[in-house]
């Protein structure tokens, strides 16, 4: 009896080994796949979606060419299935790590397309959302992408490096959607531009909801990050009036005719506190405590002198406060709260959820009083 049961058990196990795989997920043998690393989306003249799919190239004989497929369709899913028709490989999205929206879509709103991605469990939430001011297909056709296997991987490492270097605000799919659904802080999306056949980031797009409304230069992104994020080891290049330093600049350099000087700060850490001082008048007080290291000044001066450092710190404070006001004014004009003041407001008005529309009415009228205090910790070996 026992023996019989054992035989039946073994038989059933072996049988299930053969049969059950049919019920499981389909096979994805790697060399039969067109693994997409980036999608670019535009809208063409016929108001159709025009998609560009960048695939990994597995043929060892072709070393330096992105495998790119163009396809059109009414929806993102149709674009994908049309791309599939044009390829001998089965196109899969499991390694997708960049999605690029052209200006035509960025002006209309990108969330309808991201929604499709959200539903696909195979797609990583860590993919970077990017935009461009030229058609996405042109960016993805750029032929210079360094040592990366294709332009998609290059774009990903380009964005990833900038995020790691604390140059831009991270815009992974997850972070974008979080900012999008949370009233009071608008998403920022890096803008990819193309120069001499090579893609680069030199500005960041301000979103209003999911539409692209304006740009910030990388210097302005620094100021936004100062309020919005925390720097671990940031770096900034400041342009300052030379006048207060005149008497300390060394003799040999005195003859310089410039009335501007440049200071580079490194290893920058910040501690920012935002206080809503008056809920009715919407006045904020922002205290920014900075500490950093000077690694370069365009004029030689004796940094050993505490007075010089003191003046330098004051000048940096003044400069940053002015710049922060300018950026705020800019964002109020296009009515997009990139700093996240709305989140603070929402925290103060407990009980009722702030809506996007409410904050749009309030944001242009807020008053912010910036108070930056810089501490220069070291000035390195440069003197």
């Amino acid at each position: 009896m026992v023996n019989n049961r054992k035989i039946i058990f073994v038989f059933i196990s072996l049988l299930s080994l053969m049969i059950i795989p049919g019920c499981g997920h389909s096979k994805n043998v790697i060399e039969e796949l067109g693994v997409a690393s980036a999608y670019g989306l535009d809208i063409n003249e016929q108001q159709q979606l025009d998609g560009t799919t960048v695939l990994y190239q597995f043929n060892p004989d072709i070393t330096n060419a992105s495998q790119i497929i163009r396809s059109t369709g009414e929806t993102f899913s149709m674009v994908r299935s049309n791309a599939n028709k044009k390829s001998g490989y089965k196109i899969v999205n499991g390694k997708l790590d960049t999605i690029l929206f052209g200006p035509t879509i960025a002006k209309q709103g990108i969330v309808p397309y991201l929604d499709t991605i959200e539903r696909d469990a195979a797609i990583s939430n860590m993919l970077y959302v990017t935009m461009s001011e030229e058609p996405a297909r042109d960016i993805l056709s750029a032929s210079n992408y360094e040592e990366a296997p294709n332009i998609g991987v290059y774009l990903h490492s380009l964005v990833d490096k900038s995020v790691r270097n604390e140059e831009i605000v991270s815009s992974t799919f997850h972070e974008f959607m979080r900012s999008y659904y949370r009233a009071g802080r608008e998403p920022l999306v890096p803008i990819i531009s193309i120069k001499e056949n090579k893609a680069s980031i030199d500005k960041v797009g301000i979103m209003h909801g999911d539409t692209h409304v304006g740009n910030l230069s990388l210097d302005e992104v620094f100021l936004v990050r100062l309020i919005r994020d925390k720097f671990q080891s940031g770096r900034i290049n400041l342009e300052m009036d030379i006048e207060p330093f005149k008497q300390y600049i060394e003799e040999s350099q005195h003859n310089s005719r410039k009335d501007q000087m440049y200071v580079v700060l490194d290893k920058l850490k910040n501690n920012t506190q935002i206080k809503l001082t008056n809920v009715d008048d919407l006045t904020y007080k922002v205290n920014v405590n900075l500490n950093a290291r000077i690694i370069e000044t365009s004029q030689q001066m004796t940094l050993e002198n505490p007075k010089v450092v003191k003046i330098l710190e004051q000048q940096i404070n003044k400069k940053l406060e002015e710049d922060l006001k300018t950026v705020l004014k800019k964002s109020q004009q296009i009515n997009s709260d990139v700093f996240g003041f709305g989140v603070k407001y929402n925290n103060h008005t407990r009980g009722e959820e702030l809506t996007r529309e409410q904050w749009q009415d309030l944001f242009p009228n807020i008053e912010v009083d910036y108070n930056v205090s810089t501490e220069i910790k070291r000035f390195g070996t440069v003197n």
């Binding site: 499981g24 096979k27 043998v29 597995f58 060892p60 499991g94 390694k95």
Partner: protein, 490 residues
């Protein structure tokens, strides 16, 4: 005739009759039965022996000559003349026949009521040599030999203590073989000793063959792929285990000792870990466990990832994997099976061939076939690396039996990974884990100190901590004395 030979009052008889009866009845007319008639003062005696079972020179010098030179022919004189101990008087033909087979010489004086048997056995044995399967770089190199006397000699020399207890068992109905049970009576757990005693007593087989064959008869679960008794050829390993409170078996004619109860981790330890310094020993022990794990998982992981889960392959590796896979005509499962089979083929061929040819075989198999198989597009070169790595890792296991188990267990894992992907892999890991937790070695838990969880044994299982920190024997063996020595007050 037949009936007569079985009778207890067989003697007295004529010398010719005895010789004839032994020759035809007992030895089936064997051509090797030698006999010599001697006559002294009218009395006739006969000397009978099997010529290849005795030392003939000694028979001539100590038996034949003494009898020929004896003043009178009776058993008392002969016994006092011959300088050999353990001379017996036997009365039946069966007993005499049995004694002759053990290397005795039979002397019968006509008209006496019994016969004399004198032990002059010839035992040809090799000298104790270096260990072959469990080689050490650092530490004693001597290995057990095929003679139980010599093996007992090694152990007594190493364990010069009065508490070393030896029990003798005779196992085998057709070919009786001597089995010795060894333990230290003041340390070994009584239950373990009694369990082993019971298992040996209740064992009814025709022949023992070898100690590793004996373990398969008395193991807790002989269906399992994992060995539950440790078979070692190193006397120092054997003695170390006895000192830890384990029970040992020695089998005659077998060059290896058996140790029980042992845990799964015992198979990944060597005495070398103890001879070297603690930090090196700990590192090597951990490395072996990691190697075992890699050896089991790497190839199935490759198969599963390439068949189902391309998402988990890192970006940088994806391209090179894709490149090498793009020329391979087989699915990853078949590719992996072919290569694993090839490695096993090379290993087996290397083991069967004489040493010199074996080395050539390794080069041919490893380099030539390895190179050519990638160039021919049979497999991807990344798989070659993975398979070679996991084969290498499996050889770091000190126990040959456990190493083989690890190599074989890979195949079902690869199959499951190929059919079900990671689900299959997790399923098989769960299966192995459940199996290991269920196993017992001499009724002691096999998967200690992980299950049952025994953190006090970690000092000398996963790790090898300094002696001052691990002055206790393994709790899981439940020895009578847990402390090996008192910690000095410092």
């Amino acid at each position: 005739m037949k009936r007569r030979s079985r009778q207890s009052n067989y003697f007295p008889c004529k010398v010719e009759t005895l010789q004839q009866d032994l020759f035809s009845d007992f030895f089936n007319s064997s051509p090797d039965l030698a006999s010599k008639k001697v006559s002294v003062e009218g009395k006739t005696a006969i000397i009978i022996y099997m010529d290849y079972l005795v030392k003939e020179e000694e028979v001539f010098s100590h038996v034949t000559t003494k009898i020929q030179e004896a003043k009178q022919l009776d058993y008392q004189t002969i016994e006092s003349d011959i300088p050999i101990t353990d001379i017996m008087e036997l009365k039946t033909l069966d007993e005499i026949g049995g004694a002759l087979l053990e290397g005795y010489v039979c002397v019968y004086i006509e008209k006496e009521k019994s016969s004399l048997v004198i032990p002059v056995p010839r035992i040809d044995q090799r000298k104790p040599g270096k260990a072959e399967t469990e080689t050490l770089i650092f530490g004693p190199r001597i290995s057990f030999s095929e003679s139980i006397d010599m093996n007992m000699n090694f152990i007594h020399k190493r364990l010069d203590t009065k508490t070393l207890t030896v029990e003798k068992f005779i196992i085998g109905d057709m070919i009786p073989t001597e089995v010795r049970l060894l333990y230290l009576s003041d340390i070994a757990n009584d239950e373990a000793v009694q369990e082993m005693r019971d298992r040996l007593n209740s064992l009814k087989i025709d022949d023992v063959l070898e100690s590793s064959a004996l373990t398969q008869y008395i193991e807790d679960n002989s269906y399992s792929i994992f060995p539950q008794f440790l078979v070692t050829e190193l006397p120092d390993r054997f003695c170390y285990s006895l000192k830890e409170g384990r029970v040992g078996l020695l089998v005659d004619k077998s060059p290896s000792g058996v140790i029980a109860p042992v845990s799964f981790l015992s198979f990944f330890q060597t005495t070398e870990d103890i001879y070297t310094r603690w930090n090196m020993g700990s590192f090597i022990r951990l490395m072996r466990i990691v190697a075992m794990f890699l050896s089991i998982t790497l190839t199935p992981l490759y198969v599963a990832a390439l068949t189902y889960h391309y998402e988990i392959i890192p970006d940088a590796l994806l391209v090179s994997l894709g490149h090498s896979r793009s020329r391979v005509p087989f699915p990853p499962l078949l590719e992996a099976l072919i290569l694993e089979f090839l490695i096993e083929l090379i290993r087996e061929a290397g083991a069967r061939l004489p040493t010199k040819v074996g080395q050539t075989m390794g080069i041919v198999g490893g380099i030539v076939i390895g190179q050519a198989i990638v160039q021919a597009g049979f497999t991807s070169n990344i798989l070659i690396i993975i398979v070679a790595l996991s084969a290498l890792a499996s050889f770091t296991t000190p126990s040959y039996l456990m190493g083989s188990a690890i190599r074989i267990i890979r195949f079902p894992l690869i199959l499951l990974a190929g059919f079900w992907g990671f689900i299959g892999l997790i399923f098989s890991f769960a299966f192995i884990a459940i199996h290991l937790v269920k196993q017992r070695s001499l009724s002691f838990p096999y998967f200690v100190p992980i299950y049952p969880f025994q953190p006090r044994d970690f000092d000398n299982s996963f790790l090898r901590l300094p002696f001052l920190w691990s002055n206790k024997r393994a709790y899981s063996n439940r020895p009578k004395k847990i402390r090996r020595f008192q910690k000095p007050n410092r």
